[in-house]
């Protein structure tokens, strides 16, 4: 009892083949879109590599790039097959290839789905990478004379300006690290020495932030130093002042930015997956209806197309048996199954026979 059978007249078959040809070419374009999306994501992650700790973030864009390329190739082949299917003679060429092609494409669409789901699951890894990466970047902000870290100040400043954020979770993160290098601290001054002595690790901590935290929308010139000291500035109350610095943390800002990108890409990949699946269904119907035409012998007749010849359970059972027999083929069988134990007709000479003078080759 076939699964979802549909009757196909000759014209309907031809129409289906032509439509599938066009759809396969559209799928080639969507494959290119997947490839481009993968490259875009790779570039975006690499741009902020300095701010992300080492995690397996490159797997998602690599997967998208690979899937995009394979989609192009598979759909190009599918287009060629569908183009030839209009003519029953040409279909004979592809007859043996079509079923493996459909199975491969089915597994490939599964990998497209996996790619889409990976986009959504990247969130957790990203959050971890950003937390550690931003914390380290802020810690090395002052090390502009250390090779390998000298660019971090510029990176963090540009990040805070562009994403309108300050610190990791908020501006107070800057109070807990020393972001002014010792090269620019006058150790002979009392104030500096006091600050250094005021904590265990001897760090110069203060309630100030770098200039890149300043909010451009503030009506007053930016207050970066002595932020928590109301008396240091005229007409200033740090608890109510909201426009002076950026209130958002960079961790949240970057996470939102990347989550938006990932969700858009994930949605696009899901839509492409649905499209590929529908094209695959069409190709399956085309294949089964053409095979039935060949079985009936008359190219002009009406035939049935289906997804599976028997129901799911029977098909699964028969496939399982095939796989079992494939496994048995490797073992020496004493069942006497003529198909497996058919003796070889090649004249290699009989086995287990005592040495005799060699007969001449026949």
């Amino acid at each position: 009892m076939a699964v979802l059978p549909i009757k196909f007249t000759k014209t309907k078959r031809d129409r289906l083949a032509q439509v599938l040809w066009v759809l396969n070419w559209i799928s080639v374009v969507t494959g290119i879109i997947l490839f481009i999306l993968g490259i875009f994501l790779k570039v975006e992650i690499n741009k902020r590599q300095d701010l992300m700790a080492e995690r397996q973030l490159q797997s998602v864009p690599n997967m998208l790039i690979a899937v995009g390329l394979i989609a192009c190739m598979i759909n190009f082949l599918g287009g060629k097959i569908c183009y030839d299917c209009v003519d029953t003679n040409k279909f004979l060429r592809w007859k043996l290839v079509m079923l493996p092609y459909i199975i491969c494409t089915f597994f490939f669409t599964l990998s497209v789905l996996v790619g889409a789901l990976m986009c959504y699951s990247m969130h957790g890894q990203l959050e971890e990478a950003l937390t550690v990466g931003l914390r380290d970047a802020m810690r090395y902000y002052k090390d502009t004379d250390t090779p390998g870290r000298c660019f971090l100040k510029r990176t963090v400043d540009l990040l805070q300006i562009q994403f309108q954020c300050c610190g990791n979770k908020g501006y107070r993160d800057w109070f807990q690290i020393q972001w002014v290098s010792n090269r620019y601290l006058d150790m002979s001054q009392r104030e500096v020495v006091d600050r250094l002595r005021s904590n265990v690790e001897g760090k110069y901590l203060m309630d100030g932030v770098p200039f890149s935290c300043c909010n451009v929308n503030s009506p007053r010139p930016c207050i970066q130093y002595q932020i928590t000291n109301n008396s240091a500035h005229f007409n200033y109350d740090y608890q109510t002042e909201e426009l002076n610095l950026w209130m958002r943390g960079c961790h949240q800002a970057l996470l939102d930015y990347y989550t938006n990108i990932m969700h858009s890409i994930g949605l696009t990949v899901l839509i492409i997956w649905l499209f590929e699946l529908s094209v695959l269904t069409g190709v399956r119907y085309l294949q089964t209806s053409l095979e039935n035409v060949l079985r009936q012998g008359d190219p002009e007749c009406e035939s049935d197309g289906w997804l599976l010849e028997n129901s799911f359970v029977e098909t699964a059972r028969s496939n399982f048996n095939i796989i079992k027999h494939l496994g048995k083929f490797n073992q020496i069988s004493s069942n006497g199954d003529p198909n497996i134990d058919k003796p070889s007709t090649a004249h290699y000479g009989p086995d287990n026979v005592p040495l005799k003078p060699l007969p001449t080759a026949s």
């Binding site: 502009t144 510029r154 002014v180 890149s212 451009v216 009506p219 007053r220 010139p221 930016c222 005229f234």
Partner: protein, 352 residues
């Protein structure tokens, strides 16, 4: 004496018509691109209109947009004419339309050259406009509570950050302006009172700049205040310090940016101009060659094509005569429609 005569056998005419039809499609796209570039330039100028005093420079994108649109129309007509020229029975209906069409097209195409020349000629005007606009922006930086000027602080800050520049000519422009509003100055403090008294206008001037002048590429945290005082900061010398603030002035940065834009657009506009002129010249040849064919029995004869039937001077004189005749005809037409009572009035234009 014919100007630039070329002989056209039948095959050459057909080839010319076909090639011209194809070229007119290319020129249509080129016209659309010119329009798009005009739109882009206008939006870029509009974005920074708050720091520009006059809108003189806007004539360049306006011209580009107008010419782009017109050239799309011109090229559609040219394509139609080419199509019809292959059929001698359909060609005659274009006869009266083509001469004014040519004059109009040449005028429109020359506007492209005018736009290119203007983009260079108006550079001093742009610079002056930016100078005044930036001066006002810096002057009104502190007036975030005055309606109509409250956005200046944000505009100038964003501009300095985006274009990596500081002040009008350089960062010292900020020393001459009070950029901190009186609302945030403690007038009971001695320092404030001293500074305000130190100049005639009673302004709070200081050797400091806003935070948006800070250069992120500097290895040390930004020094914005007491810039000229070496002793106020450890290990600091303002004469040799180059990375602390942006060295460029915003006027220079903006002029460079816009000149760069126009220099990129320039070659495309030049290409469009040359393409358009090629099409018009070829169309003129096609028209004159086809005019030799009209009325003939055998359409495959060889004809001559030219740009002008007579020399340049003679053509100009002829055109002047034609114009005079048309004007006179209009006047005489008015006079004859008028009743005999007002005839003395009709006499007047003739004697004027």
């Amino acid at each position: 004496m014919v100007l630039l005569k070329i002989k056209f056998p039948f095959q050459k005419r057909v080839r010319l018509a076909q090639g011209l039809w194809l070229l007119s499609w290319v020129a249509m796209f080129s016209g659309a691109i010119t329009f798009a570039m005009g739109v882009f330039l206008k939006t870029e100028l509009h974005r920074r209109s708050e720091v520009m005093h006059s809108m003189d420079i806007h004539i360049v994108p306006n011209l580009l947009m107008a010419v782009g649109l017109a050239s799309v129309g011109i090229n559609i007509c040219a394509g139609k004419v080419c199509q019809d020229s292959l059929d001698p029975s359909r060609f005659p209906r274009w006869k009266t339309f083509l001469p004014p069409f040519f004059c109009f097209s040449v005028f429109i195409t020359s506007l492209l050259l005018v736009a290119m020349i203007l983009s260079f000629a108006l550079q001093p005007s742009l610079e002056e406009s930016l100078k005044i606009g930036l001066k006002n922006g810096i002057r009104f930086y502190k007036d975030t509570d005055t309606p109509g000027r409250c956005f200046q602080k944000e505009t100038i800050d964003r501009l300095q950050i985006e274009f990596q520049c500081c002040g009008n000519t350089n960062y010292r422009d900020w020393f001459e302006v009070q950029w901190i509003s009186n609302r945030y100055l403690d007038f009971t403090s001695k320092e404030v009172k001293d500074r305000v008294r130190s100049n005639v206008d009673g302004r709070y001037l200081l050797d400091g700049v806003p935070f948006s002048c800070c250069n992120p590429a500097s290895p040390r945290p930004c020094i914005q205040y007491s810039l000229l005082d070496n002793s106020a900061h450890y290990n600091y010398e303002y004469q040799s310090e180059e990375l602390n603030l942006y060295n460029r002035g915003c006027r220079q940065a903006l002029v460079n940016y816009y000149m760069g834009l126009m220099n990129t657009i320039g070659p495309c506009v030049l290409f469009d101009f040359l393409l358009q002129m090629t099409i018009l010249v070829s169309l003129r040849y096609l028209q004159t060659a086809m005019e030799g064919v009209i009325g003939q029995e055998n359409v495959e004869i060889e004809t001559e094509g030219y740009i002008l039937e007579k020399g340049v001077k003679e053509t100009l004189l002829e055109t002047k005569e034609k114009m005079k005749k048309i004007l006179q005809f209009a006047q005489v037409g008015d006079a004859s429609a008028v009743t005999p009572d007002t005839q003395p009035d009709a006499e007047k234009p003739a004697t004027a």
